[in-house]
C-alpha cells in the first residue's frame, strides 16, 4: 500500500464499531456484585412461616444452596416462580428465600396459591438485610457454596437457560468439590 496512513480512519472505525457493539449488548441493569467470592453477609431474621424461629447466615453454610430474593409486589418474581418450583422438584439444591419488603399475609398466600419451592424463607420486613446483600432489583438469586461463600448472582428473573447453563452446572461443580 502506498499510503498506509489512509488506513487509520478505517481501523479506528472498526475498533469503535466493535467497542460500541459490545457496549450495546451489555445489560446496564446487571451491576456486578462485590459480594462474589465473599462470605454471606451476617443476618438473622424471623422465618416467614414460623415467626418464632429464625433463619440466618448460619443456615446458608454447610451445603450448596440458593438464596432467592422475592416479593409478592414483584411482577417478574411471579414469572420465575414456575422455574423455582421445577428446580426444587429436582432436589439438586436447597432453595432458601429472602422475602423482601413484603407483607407476611400476602407472602404466605402466594406460597399457598402458587406452591412453595423454598426450604425456608427469611422475612425481611424493612429491607435492611436486603441492603447488606446489595439487593436492588428483585428477583435476585445467589448461589452459595458449602463454605457459605457467595459464588454467583443472577439479577432479574431466572430463565430455563440461566438455570440449565449457569446455575445447575455451578451447583454440581461446587458439590463435587465437597
Amino acid at each position: 500500500m502506498k499510503r498506509p496512513l489512509l488506513l487509520i480512519p478505517a481501523i479506528v472505525f472498526a475498533v469503535m464499531a466493535v467497542l460500541l457493539a459490545v457496549g450495546l449488548n451489555l445489560n446496564p441493569r446487571e451491576v456486578p456484585s462485590p459480594l462474589i467470592g465473599k462470605p454471606v453477609p451476617a443476618f438473622e431474621l424471623s422465618r416467614l412461616k414460623d415467626p418464632q424461629a429464625t433463619l440466618g447466615s448460619a443456615d446458608l453454610t454447610g451445603r450448596v444452596s440458593l438464596l432467592n430474593v422475592w416479593a409478592t409486589w414483584c411482577v417478574s418474581c411471579r414469572a420465575e416462580h414456575k422455574l423455582l418450583m421445577a428446580l426444587a422438584e429436582t432436589g439438586e439444591v436447597d432453595i432458601y428465600g429472602l422475602n423482601y419488603k413484603d407483607e407476611r399475609d400476602a407472602a404466605l398466600r402466594w406460597l399457598q396459591v402458587y406452591g412453595d419451592p423454598y426450604v425456608a424463607n427469611a422475612f425481611d420486613d424493612d429491607g435492611r438485610v436486603g441492603i447488606d446483600w446489595g439487593v436492588y432489583g428483585t428477583p435476585e438469586t445467589f448461589v452459595i457454596d458449602g463454605d457459605g461463600v457467595v459464588r454467583h448472582k443472577v439479577i432479574g428473573p431466572l430463565s430455563a437457560d440461566i438455570v440449565n447453563e449457569r446455575i445447575l452446572p455451578l451447583v454440581r461443580q461446587l458439590k463435587s468439590r465437597g
Binding site: 441493569r29 451491576v31 462485590p34 447488606d132 446489595g134 436492588y136
Partner: protein
C-alpha cells in the same frame, strides 16, 4: 382554566405520586447532621434503580431506604469515607459518580489522553508531509496547465 379533558388526567397523575415520598423534611437537621453536608453526600452517590439519578434525586424505594441509612450513619458520626465504603461493599463502584483509579478503570481515565496524543501525532505527521510537498513546487508542465486554465477563465469573464 384547564381544559375539561385534562383535569382527570392531572388528578390521576397527582394520585399516582408516591404517598410517602421521603424528602429532606423527614430528617432532623438540628442534631449531629448538617443539611448541606448530607445533601452533598447523597448527591454524589448513584441510585441503582434509576441508574441515571443520584441518591438525592431518586424516588425509588431503595433510594429512600439508602438515604435513611446514610442519614443514620452520619448521625452516628461515621465519616464520608466510611459511608462510601459501606455502599461500595454492597453495591460496588457503580454507586460512585467518581470512579476510582485502578487497573480496570485505566482505559476510562487515560483512554482520552491516549487518543488525543495519537491524534496529535497523526496531525503532526500529515502537516509536515504536506508542507514538504508545497516546497517542491509545480513542475513546468503543471505551471503551463495552470496558466492556460487561468487564461481561459479570464477569457470567459470578459465575454
Amino acid at each position: 382554566m384547564l381544559p375539561r379533558l385534562l383535569r382527570p388526567a392531572l388528578l390521576g397523575l397527582a394520585m399516582s405520586m408516591p404517598a410517602h415520598a421521603s424528602t429532606l423534611a423527614d430528617f432532623d437537621f438540628t442534631g449531629n447532621v448538617s443539611e448541606a453536608h448530607y445533601k452533598e453526600v447523597i448527591s454524589e452517590l448513584r441510585c441503582l434503580v434509576c441508574q441515571n439519578e443520584s441518591l438525592a434525586s431518586s424516588q425509588a424505594e431503595l433510594a429512600q431506604d439508602l438515604r435513611e441509612e446514610v442519614y443514620k450513619m452520619m448521625d452516628a458520626g461515621k465519616t464520608d469515607d466510611e459511608i462510601v465504603e459501606f455502599l461500595v461493599a454492597r453495591y460496588g463502584d457503580f454507586v460512585l459518580y467518581d470512579p476510582p483509579l485502578k487497573p480496570s478503570t485505566w482505559l476510562l481515565w487515560f483512554g482520552p489522553f491516549v487518543l488525543a496524543a495519537l491524534a496529535l501525532l497523526v496531525m503532526g505527521y500529515t502537516v509536515r508531509k504536506r508542507s514538504r510537498g508545497v516546497e517542491q513546487g509545480l513542475t513546468a508542465a503543471e505551471r503551463e496547465r495552470v496558466a492556460s486554465l487561468l487564461g481561459e477563465e479570464t477569457e470567459n469573464r470578459k465575454s
